[in-house]
């Protein structure tokens, strides 16, 4: 009897091992998250013959930049505009660089350049477009005593090597205030750069400042004709055509660690995968929380605090019919711009107003739209009951609109549909702690973690913005997978 039991036991273990082998699929690389960085990394690896699987917990790709249909209207969330827009001959700048790396053509993104954007502070307005000369002229006209200083700042920006992964972080506020002596001009320069890609409250790392300065002021804005889905469609198609595997609605439950490595990946559906190398775009702390050897006391990275309220409005006419042709308006109703987690639920004293119709489009968009972004406080939104949450959304939308119509024509009577994304929504869809879209303020530039085969790409690696996110995926795939195997 005892012999038989042992035999059955041995047989049982043996067959479950066999079963385990069959269920465990192995990849050269596994990528967590099908956002811009994960997809870009996936294309690089799949193109060069690696077996790659991207797992995405949401049913749709895009991560922090995505799209959805609401009551029959196709809406975008996240991306207002693609930064880094340059004419096709500017080969060494980031956008052409990433197109080359992804083996894509400039036409694939169908980019339509902006008309003109504006920074509006009390008593001062600075316009800029995709030709840096306009911005330089606006600064010289609006701040004649700062014209020389502004040229000095430009020189400092152009001389800095922002792509050096080993550079020591320095304060952009310190650098800028040592050159620009008028705090109003300084804040007006910081405002768009912070809203479009800064994870840190009050200050900004200078390398990140340089990336954003170049991508917004020296290069510029463009919109893919069909919005963010155009970029995502191109990336997914390219990834699949290279043989990459994409699994949506596929969350990672845990990363099993042993001997300083991730040895297997347990999915929420109970399946186990293995991979030689893992790139995670889920965020640094978010990824660490998946580890079976998770130890919060060892983590030095603080959680990001900056989240946003995004109001998406469909209008019964284009804003150009109201005499408004500006593409993006960055505003502040105070001459000191405060970029921080607000005390209240939302800070409407500053914000971004984007008009998707006001790009030089190939054909007009089907509807008039306005999108507004304001700083918001995650804890306040997260703590509400369902009923209260809805009521606050509606109330803050009205407060926001009341404020922004001081900076753009009053379009409130034209609104036919409104939807509001809160920090809670961002957290639910992206898994980001605190709904912090720009992640932790301490970036992991090298992408390395304490585990030999686990690397960070995307927001928390540190190249922000759409182009930055894709370049992050590309560089981490190059550095940690293609160059090593």
């Amino acid at each position: 009897m005892r012999v038989l039991t042992t035999f059955v036991l041995v047989l049982g273990v043996w067959s479950s091992l066999r079963l385990g082998e069959e269920l465990t699929k192995h990849y050269d690389a596994l990528i967590i998250g099908a956002g811009m960085s994960g997809l870009a990394a996936g294309i690089r690896l799949a193109y060069y013959g690696k077996s790659v699987c991207i797992v995405e917990r949401h049913y749709r790709v895009g991560g922090l930049n995505s799209f959805y249909t609401f009551r029959g209207h196709r809406l975008d969330v996240g991306l207002h505009a693609m930064t880094n827009y340059v004419p096709r001959d500017a080969r060494s700048s980031p956008l052409p660089k990433l197109l080359r790396q992804l083996k894509l053509k400039a036409e694939d993104f169908a980019l339509c350049p902006q008309r003109v954007s504006v920074i509006k502070f009390p008593g001062k307005t600075l316009q800029f477009d995709n030709d840096f000369a306009l911005f330089a002229q606006e600064v010289a006209d609006g701040f004649p005593r700062q014209a020389d200083n502004f040229q000095k700042l430009l020189k400092a920006v152009l001389e800095y090597d922002e792509l050096n992964l080993y550079a020591k972080p320095i304060s952009a506020r310190d650098v800028v205030s040592s050159i620009i002596s008028d705090p109003l001009l300084s804040d007006m320069i910081f405002c768009p750069l912070m809203f479009y890609g800064n994870a840190q409250e009050h200050d900004m790392e200078f390398g990140q400042f340089v990336i954003m300065f170049k991508s917004i002021f020296c290069e510029g804005f463009a919109r893919p004709q069909a919005g963010v889905r155009q970029i995502l469609d191109v990336l997914v198609k390219k990834y699949r055509s290279c043989g990459g595997e994409l699994r949506v609605r596929c969350a990672v439950r845990s990363l099993e660690c042993a001997n300083g490595r991730v040895v297997s990946i347990l999915l929420a559906n109970g399946e186990t995968l293995t991979a030689d190398r893992i790139l995670s775009s889920a965020g640094y702390l978010e990824t660490m929380r998946l580890l079976t050897d998770y130890d919060s006391s060892k983590l030095t990275c603080p959680a990001g605090q900056l989240s946003f309220l995004e109001s998406i409005l469909v209008l019964d006419k284009e804003s150009a019919e109201m005499g408004y042709n500006t593409t993006i308006t960055f505003y502040s109703n105070s001459d000191r711009f405060a970029y921080r987690r607000p005390v209240n639920m939302v800070d409407v004293s500053s914000g971004v107003i984007c008009c998707p119709n006001n790009f030089q489009l190939d054909k007009p968009l089907p509807e008039g739209m306005i999108r507004i972004t304001n700083l918001a406080n995650f804890d306040h939104w997260n703590g509400l009951s369902e009923e209260e949450y809805k009521a606050r959304k509606a109330a803050w939308l009205q407060t926001t609109l009341k404020e922004v119509v001081k900076f753009v024509p009053d379009f409130r009577d034209s609104v036919i549909l409104a939807d509001v994304f809160t920090p809670k929504t961002i957290h639910r869809f992206s898994g980001r702690i605190n709904g912090a879209v720009y992640g932790t303020p301490s970036k992991i530039k090298t992408g390395k973690t304490h585990l030999d085969n686990l690397f960070i790409c995307g927001t928390d690696q540190g190249f922000l913005g759409i182009v930055g996110a894709m370049l992050s995926g590309i560089s981490m795939a190059n550095l940690h997978v293609l160059q090593k195997t």
Partner: protein, 83 residues
């Protein structure tokens, strides 16, 4: 492959990576990156294409040996001669 064929193979790879550049005057003894607009990411793609097309593995420590066209040919000759 002969040395000449190896050189042509390299040039074809570079031409695919940076199609807008004129490669006809590329000098063999000067680093390629000093002569045409080829950044470190593009350079990596030369290595990757060698693996993809010819199955040749170039370890990271050897990348520097491929800086010039002549260097490429010298390095690849023993590895591609039999192809």
């Amino acid at each position: 492959m002969t040395k000449e064929q190896i050189r042509d193979a390299i040039l074809e790879i570079i031409a695919q990576i940076i199609p807008d550049e004129d490669l006809s005057n590329l000098k063999g003894d000067i680093p390629i990156r000093e002569q045409v607009g080829l950044d470190s990411m593009d350079f990596l793609d030369i290595i990757m294409e060698l693996r993809k097309r010819y199955g040749i593995e170039v370890p990271e420590d050897d990348y520097m040996q491929l800086a010039t066209l002549d260097g490429c040919v010298a390095y690849l000759d023993p590895r591609m001669r039999e192809l």
